[in-house]
Amino acid sequence: MEEQKQLCYKCGVKPPNYKIRSQKVCRDCFIKNTEHLFRSNLKALLSPKKGENLLIAISGGANSMSMLHLTDTCKNPEKTTKLMQFTPVLLYIDDSFIYHTPQSQVSEFLESVEKRYNVHINVIKIEEKIPDIEEQLNLPSQAKSDMLYFVINNLITDFARENNYQKVITGESASRVSTLVMSEICKGRGVSVSSFSSPILLVDGITIARPLRELLEKEVAIYHSIYDVPLLTKLPMAQSLTLPWAGSMDILIQDFLGNLQSKFPSTTHTLLRTATKLIPQGNFNEICAICKHTKDGPINHLEKFNSEYEDICYACHHLRQNK
């Protein structure tokens, strides 16, 4: 209880409510900091102009829903004097078919979001867009969630291109991006580390930004809890996290990094800073047809089996071999 007696590091007046990166901060300063950081990032990454469409991709999870709430603050005169006047367009890729989420739960969630933020949500049902999705995802849990992640990202980019939306935001937090970087290295996508960690990507002519990339998962969780942001959560695909054969590489890495982060508060941001500097040497001009990241080929004759399909990268060959 000794720690409570100290004051917020920011205002120096109020008692702290939260401990973020070893610093103690009060509720009001936490909200102000988080919203300010988000607005600065969004402005620096995309500078959305007056009347310009900004496609906001939501999944129903804590990250993307907090991003939606934060985007809403950009247009709220009570929160900022520098109002942004872009037009928000929402997109929800409905993967309830894969997660077996009851349709009533999805509809209830979408209605609550539309009502609260006064917006229309564009919905793409994954099974309608890709009729053989069940067959494509007939893979072990880790490969299945990887493939689903790429399928959803590709659907978002397709939707943006078809409707001429040039700018998209997605809700990966710093913790999520650092987990992605580490797990993609383990899966064989080391050549694409800099793009996995980047705050901004250019895919098929569409600019995709990650304005939450500087926020830790803990900050996002506290923020959505303060505002009771509507969520549609899904349990991990791994059947069990205690059995090695049924577990998930992503979750193991998330736990590992979370543990490190709690003891060494610079871990996540240092990892991201390092990853953005890792640029592959050589000519890598082709893009993988599945993950849309850099396509690499076999680096020696022992990897010849990885040239079966000409248009996909080393790691996506492994995904296919899981079939």
């Binding site: 209880m1 720690e3 103690k24 969630s145 695909m237 998930s248 992503d250 543990n259």
Partner: protein, 94 residues
């Protein structure tokens, strides 16, 4: 005495889709003991998503009366009558 428990970020799915619970307690417990109590009496499925070994799973954030449990002693905090305790999961993907 009783405490008010709130689950979010997916944890509600482990507790029979209940987001809020009022939990009666016969004696004073520490937060660590409360976590075991919740696991033994209320958890319905997949305990590995709530606990890891003998403590709360890393990545679950706990707020006691809107205060980070890291500021009030974590596992050793002694739960008080009518405390509002939120468990927020940050587990994603995979």
């Amino acid at each position: 005495m009783s405490v008010h428990i709130a689950f979010s970020g997916g944890l509600e799915d482990l507790f029979n889709k209940q987001r809020n619970l009022t939990v009666p307690l016969e004696s004073q417990l520490t937060l660590k003991q409360l976590v075991f109590h919740l696991k033994d009496r209320y958890l319905q499925t997949r305990p590995e998503l709530f606990m890891s070994g003998d403590s709360l799973r890393p990545g679950i954030i706990v707020l006691v009366n809107d205060m980070d449990w890291e500021l009030c002693g974590k596992d050793d905090y002694v739960v008080q009558d009518r405390d509002a305790i939120s468990f927020i999961s940050t587990l994603h993907g995979g």
